[in-house]
Symmetry: C2
Subunit: 587 residues, 2 copies
């Protein structure tokens, strides 16, 4: 089953009680996707939708051709970019060495067959970033798009981007995306990681994981591939992705030097960044805050350095006994990223990997450097977010977001969890979902998901879904707690359906309709049970909602919300009397 | 497979890297169970153990005979209780009506075959509660037991019980339990609900669920059965349970009046309480705070009354237009409970059932009444805890625990979740696990688990396990955040094992060793992978922990924690210079 089939199979428009729709903006090609859930009481509920054209029955998608480049006219229309020949793709981009006994050419099937496109960049190397436009007071099509998507004014979007409090990751070479925004004033976003590794996985599986993750609500996807065919896998993922794609270019650079950290050079790294920027990567994790002098701060740690990027850079710094080439060449890197509108995700290479190491000197020393780099990036008009931990017990979580917001001038925080305990391998989506909900409530803009396989193995399809759903729960719980306008309407609609025993509406409104329906049917599969005024939990006699409804029916007058009615009146008198309760008669 | 087999199968003593052990107190029959995990580095880690004799290879258990009544000599030794004939068991106790066409006798197989035991109660109706003893300055065997179990002094236990800040639920008719304590100064506890319903389930399944739940860490179990064979099911569960058992007597009372709430009477209710107290129920949920005048406060709610007990009492109050018989006879109820040492769990019948209804007037009006009832219960020396919500968004959670602690004089709070969003049926163990962790951090003493089937159906074996594990995560995360002494040692041991690639130790220390091992083996099943210095997530080249270890090995001198060593010295100089970082060279 291809990813496209997967999306279609459970979709089928109105039959399933919902359909993909669009809200059109100021121009006909500015169409924001929404999910309209059709309730049995005749009402509609409109939900945010990340699933891309795959759930749109009016669109024929083909993973071998890629998605329609819907931003292309907007980008060209701005007139500040130019096409150019681009860097030639080399066998080593896919991890195939000149000296490889298996030859220099990859499997032809693997090459992306879609139409070739010349890369594009800012004319004369100028910054073509949403930050640059926002600062000049320009509201781009992308900004209007996310304003419609979030239900706020385009000016709010522009202001938040201009102030650096939000990012809109949108590489000029990834015209296929449906723009989205990451910032604390907006809905909390969720990232899903995919990626093959030296041990398992194939290109097809990664593309499938991407569409699967976005189907369940992933707002962005990071391709963390580390094995062969990195370049080609990324091309397939980008051309088929409706959401921004992030990467860690250091992983591919390390492949190019055969995994020997000490052989990395700024030139190899820079070449890899250009390669990925030309393909259309929207944001890149850069571990430029791991400085030589911070490495000893990790010596007393329980779990040392647990970020892959962080440990690679630490190894490099120590091997050469020199300052990080990422740090030393940071301004040049800014210029490259600005000319494609690649967003920085400044990596926390020294994040804690255990409860014992949370909020330690190494972690916060690096955070201060990230604050410094954030300022430099902004000077170059590069959009920037800051990555955060990791493993942090609940009572130490708030310090992380507060310090990050202060040091990094409110740049969006993008955290991995944090995991609130180390003792539950196999359930780290939950240990981290707890921390994620809390840190998002307190201002984190995007949450990087953790799957049940964290620390143990590579996530499969089910793990990806479980990770995404868990993090959508954390994100939505945070939206509610932050009082995001409109967030509670979804809960209210589902609770109304629950109270009124509209089972089909409950399923269709659920974050995961398939699972909700399957769980219900496990104990009460018969079709009449879908309209029953009880469920299998308590049975008909004990259903509190049924009794509650019976009470309302039988005592309609007494319970009327009309303030003049008898019972309500008594209740008011009670409240007015200071809510003092009776003394027990038996006394 | 019986529950016993289930426990034994995955146990097998040292072969699995852990074994059941005991810590002996001041008398030889005071033996506190612990789980000793044997690490491959020769160290032992000692963990709290709730699994009962089922995981003790030196004990032969037989569910048809029940567990050894290990508290019997302690109870008899106190000399303040007496055996008596007890209330005769009647067919209607099992939901079999005189008029039932199916006849008056239940299935003979279902009757518990273990040795008959006369019920016991306080001589002359005196209070034989742990609260009464604690207030008199007596340290009981049960108090010493839980002190050993929690790693605190017996005097601390006595003080907390005497002050009403903790309860030690231990009916004199449930001598089989291994005593445990519920209070904010102690480890956060987890309750698992089991219970057949009119729709599904059998006696054997419920006993099996109980031992299964305690095997994974449930500290107490509530039997919420509502169908037939309620009395008999409870007898089997009690006689085989190593943990305190809670019930909601109202459910059985309602069965006795054929589900017609308006036909309930104080006499039928009282008779049911005595019936259950004689069997050995350790704590009972009593919805005595649902007052007639509060019912109209629920009229404007989105989801009305969602507590079964609450809706039954509301229906009764309205039908008779009289005050609740539970409220009016509360003092008499106290006297009954005191004479068996049944602990009150004062139910929150008006808890919110949706985000929209959280922290509303109905909820907090009832809480104030529960505060009043708490004071009355204490006057009768009845141990008391207070139940809490429900559905509450994150930003409204803290008000719940703060208000409860203030109004109820720090009586232990016992909450259901709370669920932090309504939109994820099928995943409510997670929506509620988030709220549970937070409210426990802030002082809640026991968490009532929620399974993935909440709102949809009855939990099966897998759901019970998932619910318990999720809530053990929430409880332990809270123990860490509260700084409970010794809590972090578990995380530290697991993180050490992780950093040192001791895979078997990671599995054995995990909250769920089976799942951790299975997930690892899914991608890297070969035995050598269990000692490999990487896992399938990143592969050997990208393993940050491996690189981190390599760094330590290669730069041992530089990274030495010896403060005189070169790199550490440089790092200190850096810190002393105010942690100012370099300016980028490129500037």
């Amino acid at each position: 089953m291809t990813s496209q089939d997967a999306a279609r199979t459970s979709e089928n428009g109105r039959e399933l009680g919902w359909h993909k729709d669009h809200v059109t903006g100021s121009r006909p090609d500015l169409r924001v996707p929404v999910r309209r859930v059709h309730l049995t009481n005749g009402q509609d509920v409109t939900l945010y939708d990340t699933s891309g054209p795959y759930t749109d029955p009016s669109v024929t998608t083909d993973v071998r051709r890629g998605l329609t480049p819907l931003r292309e006219n907007w980008i060209i229309g701005r007139g500040d970019t130019e096409e150019y020949a681009g860097r030639p793709v080399r066998p080593e981009d896919d991890g195939i060495k000149h000296t490889s006994p298996r030859g220099g050419l990859r499997n032809l099937d693997a090459v992306f067959p879609g139409r070739p496109r010349q890369p594009r960049r800012g004319r004369g190397g100028q910054a073509v970033t949403q930050l640059a436009y926002a600062r000049r007071g320009e509201i781009t099509e992308e900004m209007e798009y996310v304003a419609l998507r979030e239900g706020v004014s385009p000016e709010t979007v522009r202001e938040e981007i201009a102030a650096g409090r939000a990012v809109l990751p949108a590489n000029v070479n990834h015209p296929e995306i449906e723009p989205m925004i990451i910032g604390k004033k907006f809905l909390v976003k969720v990232n899903a990681n995919i990626g093959n590794s030296a041990v398992t996985s194939s290109i097809e599986e990664e593309v499938e994981k991407m569409t699967w993750a976005t189907r369940w609500g992933a707002d962005t996807v990071m391709d963390l591939s580390t094995g062969r065919n990195i370049h080609t896998t990324r091309e397939w993922v980008l051309r088929n992705s409706p959401v921004p794609i992030g990467t860690v270019p250091l992983y591919q650079a390390l492949e190019k030097v055969d995994g020997k950290a000490e052989e990395l050079t700024w030139e190899i790294y820079k070449d890899t960044v250009v390669e990925q920027a030309e393909q259309g990567v929207d944001y890149m994790t850069v571990h430029a805050g791991v400085l030589l002098r911070y490495v000893p701060l990790t010596a007393r740690r329980k779990t040392g350095i647990v970020s892959r990027g962080g440990s690679i850079m630490a190894a490099w710094c120590l091997a050469h006994h020199k300052e990080s080439f990422l740090y030393e060449n940071f301004e040049e890197l800014c210029e490259i990223l600005a000319s494609y509108d690649v967003t920085y995700s400044l990596g926390d290479g020294l994040r804690p990997g255990s409860i014992a190491d949370a909020n330690d000197e190494a972690q916060f020393a690096e955070l201060r450097t990230l604050g410094e780099l954030n300022t430099i990036a902004k000077r170059h008009n590069v959009q920037t977010m800051i990555e955060g931990p990791g493993h942090v017990p609940m009572h130490k979580i708030k310090e992380n977001i507060d310090l990050q917001q202060e040091i990094c001038e409110e740049a969006p925080f993008y955290t991995l969890g944090p995991l609130t305990t180390d003792v539950a391998p196999g359930y780290d989506h939950i240990t981290s979902g707890i921390g994620a909900a809390m840190i998002a409530w307190w201002g984190t803009a995007m949450l990087c998901y953790v799957t049940p396989k964290e620390h143990l193995g590579l996530p499969d399809r089910d793990d990806v879904k479980t990770g995404v759903i868990t993090y959508k729960i954390a994100a939505h719980a945070a939206d509610l707690a932050k009082g995001h306008p409109g967030a509670q309407a979804w809960d209210d609609a589902l609770s109304d359906a629950r109270f009124e025993f509209r089972w089909e509406d409950q399923f269709n409104l659920a974050l995961d309709p398939d699972t909700a329906r399957a769980f219900h049917d496990e104990t009460l599969p018969a079709e009449p049970a879908k309209t029953a005024h009880f469920c299998s939990m308590c049975g008909p006699k004990f259903c509190s909602m049924k009794i509650s409804q019976d009470i309302r029916r039988a005592h309609g007058d007494d319970l009327a919300v009309d303030p003049e009615a008898g019972m309500a009146q008594k209740s008011r008198e009670f409240a007015e009397a200071g809510n003092r309760v009776y003394l027990p008669i038996a006394e």
